[in-house]
């Protein structure tokens, strides 16, 4: 249990930090690749991987968008919200976070799936965070 929690926290942090730095040098889809690698290396199970990817990348995207919105007084985020028919820029920030989270989560889940496909024989103990997979 304790081992899993550490794994989860460690994964979230690593996915967030590495996705953030990865995006400085690679296109936006690096947020699929980074969680996939980490998901493959430290898989806390299928659902666990997805949640880690979602929280890791999602919180970075949400946080950056939120910070950006406030730093630049919503000059552009306000206009873009209007353009996308969102009544409040907060929804745009949430959408940004959710989208990053979704993609990051799927990336991590893919990493986990690949890992478990190739390493399935080595896996013995099912952990409680693993979903119905």
């Amino acid at each position: 249990m304790v081992g899993t929690s550490i794994k989860v926290v460690f994964s979230i942090l690593l996915m967030g930090v590495l996705s953030y730095y990865g995006e400085q040098f690679f296109p936006w889809w690096i947020i699929v690749v980074v969680p996939a690698f980490i998901g493959a290396l430290f898989s806390p199970g299928a659902l666990g991987s997805f949640i880690c990817g979602f929280l890791g990348v999602g919180s970075v995207w949400f946080g950056m968008a939120w910070f950006n919105h406030h730093q630049y007084e919503g000059l552009l985020s306000g206009k873009v919200s209007e353009l996308l028919s969102l009544s409040n820029p907060m929804y745009l920030i949430l959408l940004t976070g959710a989208l990053g989270g979704l993609v990051g989560g799927l990336g991590a889940l893919s990493g986990h799936s690949l890992r478990s496909f190739f390493l399935r024989k080595k896996r013995r103990n099912r952990n409680p965070l693993e979903g119905s997979w």
Binding site: Q24, L99, L109
Partner: protein, 817 residues
């Protein structure tokens, strides 16, 4: 099973990523667009300028210093002209990259590549008008001149140096929103932009409208309702009043039957804009100036949009010191001033567009009838790429000796049969070298070198005016004008009749001009350039202005010594000459006896209104609404015609109302009965009151005023909601000197005092700002100042130290490999 799951998860992940990486319907590609590092968030800015201080630019030859002043205007100081144009391209791209690329896409007919099938018909029309074809020819022509080649190529490489160092995250916002990439600039794109300017200003024709009217009402009625000069009213105050021709001109005879081209019952539909693009310039000689310094002012009236058409820049090298308004994509300054003189233009085309009815010999369309013989056509296949479609759309463009066949069976003008084959003749398609003209204007130092520079300007025809620091002022109605027989091209022409072809151009020596007139000033506001009786060539144009020029001259005649403040007042003057002429006629016919209290009060207010369309007045609303309803009721016969038509001008309308009490057109058929002119005036008055009551009901929070009713809005080029400025509080209308309509008006106001001691002093404003980035806090900062009639004082000097002293930020650019 596990394999299946893994494959499913991988496909889901890849599919989602792919989906988000691409544009679907009207949504941007959400993945890259929403990424806080790469997407639109990365375009957010706090400071006006958040740029590095030292930057390498591959195509520079030497170090260049750029001083940014508090208005965000760049003052470029280079050791050679090549670097000056590299930097102009670089900085323009820095602020306006998306705008300049989009404008040339529009001209070239390449919008479908970005916007998809919706714009295919527009693209086809642009290609069928031949813009891309003539820009291509022009690009090959202008680079034959060494000076122009090095200028255009330097500018081009500056733009491309800027583009090449951009990553996705640096792209202008609009590229991210629409999901495409900036394209490299080229000499051909500069030529496309020149065609865009030319077509905006001179691609205007009423041939179809006139032909429609002619067919239904006959030539006598046409000449009565659309006269070339209107008698009986105060004269139109020609741009040049004292013109004396001292040359022989050969005018071709009028061919018999030119006004009876056979058109069947099919009506011709509207095929282009008929917006009036006006402008005002004035030049004051030292004798008439309050300070004894020559004064100059220029105010081009155009469609208002954000980003603004104009980009201000100051270019300085050992051989050049020039400042003013440039057009993104075009090297040099278009309207501005240097150490010696200030210049500007108003639009001055005559009938520069004509349509020829073509008779092809057979279905292959390889030949057409011309004179006694058959002439060969040329075929060109246009390929239009469309976003979301694999194969390009192919369109066959056929050329006659007149020009491209814009309308034919594949692109019919009307739905009816037969579909007319109409070939276009437009002066803007002829070879010219406008980049060279502006290169030379920027360097002109006296009257002779200025005239030498402008005499090369062919398209668009412009009334070019200047004032020199030594006191000379001058104006020329410059451009390429074909010699025509009277009324040639007023109606659709016969493409098979050689006598309908355009003649040679009016010789440059026969240009209409004025230099240093006795009155001490020169002005132009798109009025007829000269009294037709004192100039042998045919000067017809459907859009001559009849009001702004008169008002301008009246003010200048009354003002003994003109100051800069006087010119500011002139540029913001809202006197409504149309109301001055028409309203008394309308009020005289009102049946006031039956008026209730409220109506009487309004009648009194309208009777004592001073005809100024000021922003906060409500009288202009009552007049404008009434007049529009009345005009449409008056000319209902014309509006009822199927197909496109144009109404007689306000000037002609007022003249006919005064002088023709019983014209058949005056009678209206309403509810089966015939209504007299007086009854129409009274009925439309009541209608207008109802319309305004409705407006008040819809705007319960707003006090009725001209500005609120007019609701001028300056929209983003893509008309994105929230990206422009709506409900700008500003007075004026078309035909007032402050010619602001709901979306059109003074796109720039420039005033220069050519101070003999301190050098040129300049004031300027335009509705927008330098930055084209919608997240820039200054994005539309100047709109309010512009609406209020305020100006920015420009920083200008021949000394780099003066510029340095007032700069808020300095950048150094240096060559890199």
């Amino acid at each position: 099973m596990r394999l299946l799951k893994t494959v499913f998860v991988l496909l889901l992940t890849l599919g989602t990523t792919f989906f988000l990486d691409n544009k679907w319907e009207e949504f941007p590609p959400l993945g890259p667009f929403l990424s806080p590092t790469h997407g639109f968030w990365a375009n957010a800015k706090k400071e006006d300028l958040s740029v590095e201080e030292v930057i390498g630019v591959p195509h520079l030859r030497d170090e260049v210093r750029v001083y940014w002043d508090k208005h965000n205007i760049a003052h470029v100081v280079a050791s050679n002209d090549h670097d000056l144009y590299v930097m102009q391209g670089y900085l323009t791209a820095f602020h306006r990259l998306w705008q300049m690329n989009t404008q040339v896409r529009k001209t070239a007919g390449r919008l479908s590549e970005v916007f998809g099938e919706d714009l295919l018909d527009f693209d086809r029309l642009q290609r069928r008008r031949g813009f891309a074809e003539s820009a291509e020819r022009m690009a090959k022509h202008i680079v034959l001149n060494d000076t122009v080649r090095s200028m255009v190529l330097a500018y081009t490489s500056g733009v491309n140096d800027y583009i090449s160092q951009l990553a996705y995250k640096d792209y202008p916002f609009e590229y991210k929103l629409l999901g495409y990439e900036p394209e490299p600039w080229s000499a051909e794109k500069t030529c496309l932009l020149q065609k865009e300017m030319s077509s905006t200003l001179s691609f205007k024709s009423r041939d179809l409208e006139n032909t429609n009217f002619l067919r239904s009402f006959g030539k006598d009625n046409f000449d009565l309702l659309y006269p070339e000069s209107v008698g009986g009213l105060p004269d139109q105050r020609f741009m040049v009043e004292d013109f004396v021709d001292d040359f022989e001109a050969e005018i071709p005879p009028v061919p018999i039957g030119f006004d009876s081209i056979a058109f069947s019952s099919t009506s011709l539909p509207r095929h282009g804009s008929s917006v009036l693009d006006g402008s005002t310039v004035l030049a004051i000689s030292p004798e008439k100036s309050a300070t004894g310094n020559a004064l100059f002012a220029s105010q081009p009236d155009l469609d208002l949009s954000i980003p603004s058409l104009w980009y201000l820049i100051h270019l300085q090298s050992p051989s050049l010191n020039v400042m003013g308004a440039s057009i993104p994509g075009f090297p040099g300054i278009v309207i501005g001033f240097n150490d010696s003189l200030a210049w500007g233009t108003t639009n001055g085309p005559r009938d520069n567009v004509d349509w020829y009815l073509v008779q092809f010999a057979d279905e292959t369309r390889d030949n057409y009838h011309y004179g006694e013989n058959l002439h060969k056509t040329q075929h060109k296949i246009e390929e239009i790429d469309i976003r979301g479609r694999r194969a390009p759309f192919r369109d066959t463009l056929i050329f006659t000796h007149h020009g491209p066949v814009t309308y034919d069976r594949n692109f019919p003008l009307s739905d009816g049969n037969p579909s007319y084959d109409l070939s276009l003749r437009w002066s803007g398609h002829d070879l010219s070298n406008e980049p060279k003209v502006f290169y030379k204007i920027n360097r002109a130092s006296d009257l002779d070198s200025f005239y030498d520079a402008i005499s090369g300007l062919l398209s668009p025809p412009q009334n070019v005016s200047f004032a020199h620091i030594g006191g000379d002022i001058g104006i020329w109605a410059q451009g390429y004008f074909p010699i025509k027989w009277a009324q040639q091209g007023v109606f659709i022409l016969d493409g098979s009749d050689p006598s309908h072809d355009w003649g040679a151009a009016v010789p440059q020596d026969h240009v209409i001009y004025s230099i240093n007139p006795d009155v001490g000033y020169l002005s132009s506001a798109n009025e007829r350039p000269v009294d037709p009786s004192s100039y042998p060539y045919y000067t017809y144009y459907g859009w001559y202005e009849h009001y702004r020029g008169r008002r301008l001259k009246e003010i200048l005649d009354e003002t003994e010594e003109v100051s800069v403040q006087d010119i500011m007042n002139i540029q913001n003057d809202n006197f409504n000459y149309v109301a001055f002429e028409i309203l008394p006629i309308l009020l005289d016919s009102l049946d006031t006896k039956s008026f209730k209290n409220e109506e009487s009060q309004l009648y009194k207010r309208l009777s004592s209104w001073n005809y100024f369309n000021e922003a906060d007045l409500s009288e202009p609303v009552y007049f404008e609404v009434w007049y529009e309803l009345f005009r449409n009721a008056l000319w209902d016969e014309i509006l009822a015609l199927p197909g496109t038509t144009t109404l007689p001008t306000d000037l002609t309308t007022a003249y006919l109302l005064k002088n023709y009490p019983s014209l058949p057109f005056w009678d209206n058929v309403v509810d089966g009965g015939v209504e007299s002119l007086g009854a129409t005036i009274n009925r439309t008055y009541q209608l207008s009151l109802g319309k305004i009551r409705l407006w008040k009901k819809d705007h319960p929070e707003t006090r009725l005023s001209w500005a609120a009713y007019k609701a001028t809005s300056i929209k983003h080029l893509l008309k994105l909601p929230g990206f422009g400025v709506d409900n700008v509080w500003v007075g004026g209308r078309d035909h007032t000197l402050n010619a602001v309509t709901e979306d059109h008006g003074p796109s720039l106001r420039l005033i220069v005092e050519l101070d003999k001691e301190k050098g040129p002093q300049a004031w300027m404003i335009y509705p927008g700002t330098q930055s084209g980035n919608p997240s820039d806090p200054s994005y539309h900062k100047w709109v309010k100042k512009w609406a209020n009639g305020e100006y920015l004082k420009l920083l200008f000097s021949a000394q780099e130290e003066d510029i340095r002293e007032h700069a808020k930020f300095v950048q150094e650019f240096f060559p890199i490999k």
